[in-house]
Amino acid sequence: MTTLSDPQGESFRLSMLLNDTRYRSYTFQFIALVCVAALFAYLGSNLMANLRAAGLSISYDFLGDPSGYDINQTMIAYTSQSSHLRASIVGLLNTLLVSILACITATIIGVVAGVLRLSNNWLVSKLMAGYVEMFRNVPVLIWIIIIFTIMTAVAPSPSAFRGDDPDASMVFGMIAFTNRGVYVPAPVFEPLGWVVLGVFLASIVASILYRRHARKKLFDEGVLLPTTWPTLAIVFVPAILVFFVLGRPITLDIPELGGFNFSGGVTLLGSLIALWFALAIYTGAFIAENVRAGILSVSRGQTEAAAALGLRPRRIMNLVVLPQALRVIVPPLISHYLNITKNSSLAIAVGYMDLTGTLGGITLNQTGRAIETILLLMLFYLAISLTISGLMNVYNNAVRLKER
């Protein structure tokens, strides 16, 4: 904005505020600022007047008060005596949990569907197109409700597992699908069990090292070691061996029907599952399109050039197509992740206690602090969104193709 053409002999005139490029933009910005400030002042004064009329005031003290309600899924210690703030954090963690689960599942579904849609099998690609169109064009809320209905109205209730001749039985004798959720066995670690786990983790690291080594060997000596089977072997064989050698130190805590419900094992709440799958399958359809577009964006010429060099189809995929397609796929993928996080607020429709359910739901209700809680709620979501999109920008800058 250095605009200093020939200032000599000119003195400031009022009309310059409108006609001079130097001052004009200040004038406009000033006006805009005043308008916005006036709008806020107006809203604020309305707020004050309304609050005064209703005898209320803005205060966040309620966050420290005991919440008084119970939450069915808590990842940190929580009782009805804990504070509202803690309840919000429980909700936040639940939001993150379902979002992360849904993101992972949606990515898997999306990638599979997207790749299959490009398959040269006519039937499969049409089937996938059907899946994509069907899920993309129906509101996610309807999908959530449909899946929740499957969970509650179609799955058997725990009482169906009761009796000598039950209507329903557990899958493998370990997993129970009920209309309250899915009960799966939980691993129980005896002291030595941790050793097995340690060995397992170590072998994962080892397998990564092995792959690195294989690559280095190829680069240094031109020897191509097999990777797929050795990797699998390295990951599983030692852990299994150790498991048996140490005398099966990990046992399963199989859920058992007792009282009203199954107890023991891990419970995946019906509302969590409904929300998780609905989000995953809905967003998966979008991701599929995205993946398809990404792969198609790598021109046929690239594949042909690689083929002409003698590379085999799987290598072409790994070395040429995927690295390029990922650059196209990832940015929209991340905005789909963002959408999942935002759509997870629909938890409220199935009674999953996420951030909207606790802070924006029960806390709001029980305290009546609408303005405070909703403001806080928005800030929480905004923080999540900004974090995700910040990461996205970092990634985009890192992988941008060099152009001249």
Binding site: V223, A308, V320, R404
Partner: protein, 262 residues
């Protein structure tokens, strides 16, 4: 366009061996019901440099893509360097690593540096250790006169430079036969010269080459045979001198009058 190429009118006298490099017998190909290649018979000897010309849609690209197994043919037989092209993956791999191909649109891998573009196939297909592959790559990059660009990305080079990298990339596989599909038609006039110079040099070293091009100057200078295709068939073939000065087939005459006309 013809005038941008090198202007020496006499075909380079290069020795051609008796050995057969490519033998195509009675080859036919259809796209759906469309008969693209009809009864193609062609024998290419080691060291021959063949230019294929012909109107658009006459099947030139399809023909050389069949040689590389980028397209499958439905009838007839293609034998490259003693290997018969069948749907056997082994054979296809053998042939592809013997035959280098340069495309009209370069098709460099934009996510890899120039050097990585050149070493990718040698490392993964030929299993050559990386540093050796890099040495070879630098050698060929020097040959195409752009060793200093080795660490740049394709997007940072001009079209002519990119096409030269594409040639170097093929050469790094040390192919015995090179196929060129209109390697210069996507380039600006100045850049065409850079690329043609590189190709002339290759020809002079005795590489077996099949080149689809309309650069008649190039054809005159290096080809020892020009093949004219129309409607999926080889219509005429001859030595460049004869071909240009004395085309026999009326279709060829018409075509030559058009492209040499302006």
């Amino acid at each position: 366009m013809a005038d941008t190429a090198v202007e020496t009118p006499s075909p380079a006298k290069l020795e051609v061996s008796d050995e057969v490099a490519i033998q195509i017998t009675n080859m036919n190909k259809w796209y759906g019901t469309f008969h693209v290649l009809r009864d193609i018979d062609l024998t290419v000897h080691r060291g021959e440099r063949i230019v294929i010309a012909g109107p658009s849609g006459s099947g030139k690209s399809t023909l050389i893509r069949c040689i590389n197994a980028l397209e499958e043919h439905q009838r007839g037989r293609i034998e490259v360097d003693g290997t018969v092209l069948s749907s056997d993956i082994k054979n296809i791999d053998t042939i592809r690593s013997e035959v280098g191909m340069v495309f009209q649109h370069f098709n460099l891998f934009p996510h890899l540096t120039i050097l990585e573009n050149c070493t990718l196939a040698p490392i993964w297909v030929r299993k050559i250790p990386k540093h050796e592959a890099e040495k070879t790559a630098m050698h060929f990059l020097e040959k195409v006169k752009i060793p200093e660009q080795a660490d740049k990305y394709p997007g940072q080079l001009s079209g002519g430079q990119q096409q030269r990298v594409a040639i170097a990339r093929s050469l790094c596989m040390r192919p015995r036969i090179m196929l060129f599909d209109e390697p210069t038609s996507a380039l600006d006039p100045e850049m065409i010269k850079e690329v043609l110079d590189t190709m002339v040099e290759l020809a002079e070293e005795g590489m077996t080459m099949i080149c689809v091009t309309h650069e008649m100057g190039f054809a005159r200078q290096v080809a020892n045979r020009v093949i004219f295709m129309d409607q999926g068939q080889i219509v005429e073939q001859n030595e460049p001198e004869e071909f240009f000065n004395n085309p026999k087939n009326p279709r060829t005459q018409l075509f030559l009058s058009q492209i040499l006309g302006h």
